[in-house]
């Protein structure tokens, strides 16, 4: 891999043209400018920009680092320091799909460790490794994840950050076989699967043409258990007064 160093006199900042052979097209450049404009201070756009880079390349390459650096007028080293801190930024090309299995204590006790072991064996890969040629249809990157904030639905796993709840080694195995065969099974909660890159584009904040995704299910029976019991039993919070008073404006001390 060739690392391109910034040369003195090279145009910097978002106005500078993309270097020849850059994997980032004009649309990506325009999206990057939109991200920078969202924040009071440009550098705040760095995390979304790195998600944007992954939507194009399926990982954060050196070219991706330099793309972010150019848009934020940072050095490649400054961007690299950030990219390597966060687990969602992948340094190696990702599969068409990313499968994340929660192996934190609670999910693990309910079967998460068994699920991860089974998938690892069947795919023949370890943590952050890919079965198949990265980026090609049916390729799957496997990872064990920390708590995914769905503990009432454990053991959980995610495909491209959409939830598959209450999994077993068998259900997870079937799910991954279908992904490998080019199918896209429906998540329990979340939008119909696309691929890792499209998910990363959405994480960067771009949802154009995807309005129907918003309608996709988000509620499991577990989510509304308390609400449902309350409704059945007629339990409610105490009634609010018709006209609650606001306190007076406090006197300045």
């Amino acid at each position: 891999m060739t690392i391109q160093h910034d040369k003195p006199g090279t145009p910097q900042g978002p106005s500078g043209p993309e270097p020849t052979g850059s994997p980032f097209d004009e649309l990506t450049d325009e999206r990057a400018r939109q991200l920078v404009a969202r924040y009071p201070v440009a550098r705040s756009a760095l995390l979304p920009l790195l998600h944007l880079v992954q939507s194009v390349e399926g990982h954060v390459s050196q070219a991706g680092i330099e793309f972010c650096a150019r848009h934020l007028d940072l050095s490649a080293a400054e961007v690299s320091a950030v990219a390597t801190f966060y687990t969602m930024y992948k340094r190696k090309p990702c599969g068409e799909h990313l499968v994340s299995v929660c192996t934190n204590t609670l999910c693990a006790a309910l079967g998460g460790d068994d699920i991860y072991a089974r998938l690892r064996g069947e795919l023949g890969v370890g943590h952050e490794e890919t079965a198949g040629e990265p980026g090609t249809p049916g390729s799957v990157t496997l990872e064990h994840a920390e708590c995914l904030a769905a503990c009432d639905l454990g053991p959980v796993l995610q495909v491209n950050y959409e939830y598959f709840d209450n999994q077993t080694p068998d259900s997870a195995s079937e799910l991954v076989s279908r992904l490998r065969a080019g199918e896209r099974p429906e998540p329990t909660r979340g939008a119909p699967l696309t691929d890792f890159r499209q998910a990363e584009l959405q994480l960067a904040g771009f949802f154009e043409g995807r309005d129907s995704d918003v309608e996709a299910p988000s509620t499991a029976p577990e989510t509304v258990r308390g609400a449902r019991i309350a409704a059945e039993k007629g339990w409610t919070a105490p009634a609010m007064p018709d006209e609650a008073e606001l306190p007076p404006v406090p006197e300045k001390k």
């Binding site: 966060y86 687990t87 204590t105 920390e146 988000s218 609400a227 609650a244």
Partner: protein, 442 residues
């Protein structure tokens, strides 16, 4: 101390934040408006901002992200008339093991958070707010983005909101996989496009937060409570829960229970009551240990079934309320194994900034792994406690304190399990040396 529910006439479950979750398309602006949505905003914009800060102080609302800091007081710390921009940042980086309340809230009812954001921003005089959501929850981020867009189109966000002259922009910001960004100053660094590492305090975010300007950082559940307090008043809010921990709270029950899920009950509800609602222990296998509010809160056992789960109750019994992430484990789960798994988590998530946490969690994980493999000795227990002692209170932020909670509480209540592992090692070794002696005998 008053009892949490008996005698007060308050129901065992008090859906406030979860009230709309059963409604069709509960996340849509239309449903939200049909169910009193944005009525609190109109009321708030007609009030003086200082009245709102006073209202939240009077309500006794305390932060729902784990620390329980009084919300109104936090807002009151923002210097007014200082000529600097003010910021509101929502901590939606839900990642404390066991915690799963904010993500379902934002998916089911994102507008309640956004209405709370607008009212809070108006109260503290902020014109820019960011909702920092962990990156792994795409559907939640999708719903929030749609809600912000719809709120803007309806005139609840943007310039001159509802003709009040108040302007507010809200950005939904996806994180990228780092538990430490749930720590408020690490979150601010991350939001500024840096590595998510905590800052030295003071200065506190109230004076030097985002972009070194006065900033309020509040949890999702805290801010989503605000519209209800504006509509119901502080006295109404205080009809639920206990004097110093008022209001309703979403308890997330997970693990070995018959019906895990989200249960919104008055503060001070006990595990015994929650288990009753959740159908008891799964398949009747008895309870062994549980966390009251995530893995960073010291473990409880079956002796603690009647501890009132509010800030004072949990703390008086030797733990913390945390995020009310009630993780329930039955008799089949080994405590040293569970503690090892949690420690591996803290080791992975330690940001590396300070030595006690970075090195300490590394060695704690190694020691626990050795014990669980059956290669530990009794002195390892002392080593663990010694390392914990060097992390607790000596780390840069609360991650280090959280990391030692499962270990010290695990050893406090279940030392025999750690000793049994050592005993197995000793007898195993004796057997092996006996075999070796016999092998040499012939």
């Amino acid at each position: 101390m008053s009892e949490p529910t008996p005698g007060t006439g308050v129901a065992p479950l008090t859906p406030v934040l979860t009230r709309r979750w059963l409604s069709p398309r509960s996340w849509s602006l239309r449903t939200y408006e049909q169910l009193e949505g944005y009525s609190a905003l109109r009321r708030a914009l007609g009030a003086h901002p200082d009245q709102l800060i006073q209202l939240i102080k009077d309500s006794g609302l305390r932060g729902r992200g784990g620390a329980g800091f009084p919300t109104g007081m936090k807002w009151g710390f923002i210097p007014q008339g200082d000529g600097k921009p003010h910021y509101l940042v929502i901590n939606a980086d839900e990642g404390e093991p066991g915690t799963c309340k904010d993500i379902p809230l934002m998916m089911a009812d994102p507008h309640s958070l956004i209405e709370g954001v607008i009212i809070t921003a108006y109260a503290i005089r902020a014109n820019f707010a960011a909702i920092y959501v962990r990156g792994e929850v795409l559907h939640c981020i999708r719903r929030l983005n749609a809600a912000v867009r719809d709120a803007r189109e309806a005139g609840y966000l943007g310039k001159d909101i509802l003709g009040s002259g108040f302007d507010l922009d809200v950005v939904v910001h996806a994180g990228a996989g780092a538990y430490i960004c749930g720590e408020e100053t690490a979150l601010l660094d991350s939001l500024e496009g840096r590595r998510g590492q905590p800052r030295l305090k003071p200065p506190f975010p109230a004076t030097a937060g985002l972009y070194a300007s006065p900033t309020v950082v509040n949890n999702v559940e805290t801010i989503a409570s605000v519209p209800y307090i504006v509509n119901g008043g502080s006295d109404w809010f205080r009809t639920m829960g206990r004097d110093r921990s008022p209001g309703p709270k979403i308890y997330s029950i997970s693990g070995h229970v018959e019906r895990p899920g989200q249960y919104e009950a008055p503060m001070g509800t006990t595990l015994r009551q929650l288990l009753e609602l959740a159908g008891g222990m799964k398949d009747g296998v008895p309870l062994k240990f549980w966390t009251p509010g995530g893995s960073s809160t010291p473990l409880f056992t079956s002796e603690h079934l009647d501890v009132p789960l509010d800030f004072e109750g949990a703390s008086e019994a030797g733990s913390m309320l945390g995020t009310t992430a009630v993780q329930v484990f039955n008799e089949t789960v080994s405590v040293p194994w569970a503690v090892m798994k949690w420690t591996e988590f803290y080791k992975h998530e330690s940001c590396g900034k300070c030595t006690p946490c970075r090195e300490g969690t590394y060695w704690l994980a190694q020691t626990l792994q050795r014990m669980v493999r059956g290669e530990g000795t009794e002195s390892d227990i002392d080593t663990l406690l010694d390392v914990c002692d060097n992390i607790l209170g000596r780390s840069f932020c609360a991650l280090g304190d959280g990391a030692v909670s499962p270990i010290t509480s695990g050893i406090k209540y279940f030392k025999h399990e750690f000793l049994e592992l050592c005993e197995k090692n000793r007898t195993g070794k004796a057997d092996r040396s006996a075999d070796a002696a016999l092998a040499g005998a012939h």
